[in-house]
């Protein structure tokens, strides 16, 4: 028999960074999120990318799909997969084994969370790279906005953290689908409906805000205030949840408990600050202003040299709209020729920002700035200059004399014939405007064409059609082409 001398107290072994990296590498290799990457890519193509290419090739407008489409789609799966990962030890009933291991359970939980979150962010940034890369081939002015990307990343991390915590605390096979369901429910109901009605300011924290007008971020800097507030709020949620996990999984360790308590307190402070800043924010034409984080320098307009083309009169636009200039000249020339020589006829057409055309800025809700279609032009100065806001332009320039710029034709005529201030004209003004637009080759909108078709039917046929389709019509299920 041999005797072995055992030390009375063992020295605490320091975990080397390489071992931490190995744990993370294992989590990354075994993450379920890898399986979802093709699915996320397909959903991005059919949803966010498809919608973005339908918008004009302006950086800010196209970047709006990041928060409006891409983040909700990815959040749904990120929360579900994070919940599935978080519930792993509970489902396999290995919590005791992991708690007794050399490393604190908090550290292993953070590695699991990091594995899912890194893959989620990789998928998200990959989609953003495709979107921005495609836009770079079409945009003629400006550069990619990065604030929406940062805000989107913060939102995804927050839903990953919430899903992971749900899985860790309530380990069950149903936690993952319910986490995904609740995520979508929060984005659709909690932010969009409930908060929008009862607490409009806090609805600003929702990543799913409205699509900005076509010229947003072109004439004026679009304020980053809202993104800063959203990042603060959602990053705070991440820190609170991860700190809370530390408190739950501390297993009596004082160091872990104290560290987790400090982290949780810091996160709570960030969440509270974000909510406080959202409460003081106000919606303006160029974005949301939060006084505490607002940079006054961003109020100044962006300097640029307009691009002009000589038609019947000079027509000038912002360089970002350079591709639309030939179409615009072709669309306006027939109208300009009709007005030539009349008193007050414009001698020049200049593009103006929709945010500086006062009658355009109509507060639809606390999170939306709407535009009055048909009132996006004004005649000012002596000699008169027509200032035209291009808020609705097609995704790609279409051949001249197409109907792609019919709204701008209407705005031109409305500014010249209609009453000042963008209000609706009387029937006589409307009749003359319609006749002038008809002369200029401006066809009625598809909705007006459908209305004319339907009005031409016999009353009994109209009634029979309504009796059959009223429910679908009310719920928005009837396409224009299906109207007889």
């Amino acid at each position: 028999m041999t005797s072995v001398t055992l030390p009375l107290g063992s020295k605490p072994q320091r975990i080397r960074p390489m071992r931490r990296a190995r744990l993370l590498r294992l989590e990354l290799r075994h993450s379920i999120m890898i399986l979802l990457l093709p699915l996320l890519g397909a959903l991005f193509y059919f949803d966010a990318f498809h919608k973005a290419v339908g918008y004009p090739p302006f950086w800010f407008v196209r970047s709006s799909v990041i928060l409006h489409e891409l983040v909700p789609d990815v959040s749904l799966f990120a929360a579900g997969v994070a919940a599935w990962t978080g519930s792993r030890e509970g489902r396999r009933e290995t919590v005791d084994l992991v708690t007794m291991a050399a490393r604190p359970r908090w550290a292993t939980a953070l590695a699991s969370f990091a594995g899912t979150t890194i893959w989620t962010l990789a998928a998200f940034l990959g989609c953003v790279a495709v979107l921005y890369g495609f836009t770079a081939t079409q945009a003629s002015w400006g550069g990619p906005p990065w604030w929406p990307v940062a805000a989107g990343a913060a939102v995804l991390c927050a839903f990953c953290a919430l899903g992971f915590a749900a899985g860790l605390l309530l380990p069950s096979r149903f936690t993952a689908p319910l986490a995904a369901l609740v995520t979508f429910l929060v984005l659709i109901v909690a932010f969009r409906v409930v908060l929008n009605e009862s607490h409009p300011s806090f609805a600003l924290l929702s990543p799913m805000n409205s699509v900005p007008p076509g010229d947003a971020g072109v004439f004026f800097h679009y304020f980053p205030d809202l993104y800063i507030v959203q990042i603060m709020f959602f990053a705070g949620i991440v820190v609170v949840v991860l700190g809370g996990l530390g408190l739950v999984t501390a297993s009596g360790s004082r160091i872990v408990s104290r560290t987790a308590a400090v982290v949780t307190a810091l996160g709570l402070a960030a969440v509270g600050t974000g909510m406080g800043l959202a409460g003081t924010a106000r919606v303006e034409a160029n974005g949301v202003v939060s006084p505490a984080v607002h940079d006054a320098a961003s109020d100044w307009p962006i300097t640029y040299t307009p691009v002009c083309q000589q038609g019947a009169i000079p027509v000038c636009v912002h360089p970002a709209f350079r591709a639309y200039l030939p179409d615009l000249v072709a669309a306006l020339n027939p109208l300009i020729n009709q007005f030539a020589g009349l008193p007050g006829a414009p001698v020049r057409v200049e593009q103006s920002s929709s945010s500086t055309t006062l009658e355009l800025s109509v507060a639809v809700s606390s999170t939306e700035i709407g535009t009055l279609v048909g009132a996006s032009a004004s005649l000012t100065g002596n000699p008169p200059v027509l200032r035209l806001a291009l808020t609705e332009v097609p995704s790609q320039p279409e051949p001249p004399s197409s109907q792609s710029l019919g709204v701008e034709q209407g705005a031109f005529v409305d500014a010249f014939i209609g009453p000042a201030g963008g209000t609706l004209g009387d029937p006589a003004q409307a009749a003359i405007e319609a006749a002038l637009l008809h002369n200029a080759g401006s066809l009625p909108s598809p909705a007006a064409q459908a209305a004319n078709r339907f009005a031409g039917l016999a009353p009994s046929v109209q009634r029979a059609w309504l009796a059959t389709h009223l429910r679908a019509l009310r719920s928005g299920h009837i396409a224009l082409a299906r109207i007889p």
Partner: protein, 225 residues
């Protein structure tokens, strides 16, 4: 297992449960069903389905659903996808190969559980919308829940039981996008009115395919689970 259940090949009784129903066999059958239901966490699933029904009730009561426009479909479709996900996840088996090797009644139990839970989900959502105007009505609930459950069951067979919620959720994202962009195809049935027979046929086909797949093969089991 009693000695009577173990026979030699000659004149062997292939079933554990005898052909002729008896009180003992009925008790054994009920016990088998109870154990199967417990192993699939069906009681918890029923709780989740009741939760979805209550959320729908709250949405109708507090007017979270717009009265007109494409957004009227958004929340009901979300909850229908949620119920389908829950039903699909019940296919996850914690036993794996031993159960497959010994359970000759498994196909019937799988089919029965999926069918009954789908019926209960439809009933609960319809009850949640009772005496309130649900856009699309009960027929749409029947079609959407059945179709999405079919997708969930197919996902369970292809991916795994535990991750089968991914199928209905992916379909949900696609449907929400189709609703907002007014795309129309019978294969995305939530975008069409309840009278659309082509959409109803597509949903029914998917449900039958899902039920048949899960009955025949059961949920796939991944090593990572």
């Amino acid at each position: 297992m009693t000695p009577g259940h173990v026979r030699t090949r000659a004149g062997a009784e292939s079933r554990i449960l005898p052909h002729v129903p008896s009180l003992a066999s009925a008790t054994a059958g009920l016990r088998l069903v109870r154990l199967y239901v417990a192993s699939r966490r069906v009681p918890v699933a029923l709780g989740a389905l009741v939760g979805c029904s209550l959320v729908l009730r709250a949405a109708l009561e507090w007017h979270w659903i717009p009265s007109s426009g494409p957004l009227t479909q958004q929340l009901p479709v979300l909850l229908e996808a949620g119920t389908a996900s829950v039903i699909a996840v019940t296919t996850y088996s914690p036993f794996g190969e031993p159960e497959r090797a010994t359970g000759c009644w498994l196909p019937y139990l799988r089919f029965g559980t999926a069918g009954v839970l789908t019926g209960i989900a439809i009933g609960l959502l319809s009850a949640g919308a009772a005496a309130a105007h649900l856009p699309g009505g009960t027929l749409e609930v029947v079609r959407n829940v059945a179709g999405m459950t079919g997708i969930g069951l197919i996902s369970a067979a292809l991916i795994s039981g535990g991750l089968s919620w991914i199928g209905p959720m992916a379909y949900l994202v696609l449907s929400e996008d189709a609703i907002l962009n007014t795309w129309r195809t019978p294969w995305i049935w939530p975008t069409t009115p309840s009278q659309d027979s082509a959409a109803a046929l597509c949903a029914a086909l998917v449900f039958v395919a899902g039920a048949a797949t899960i009955t025949a093969w059961g949920a796939r089991r991944r090593a990572a689970e």
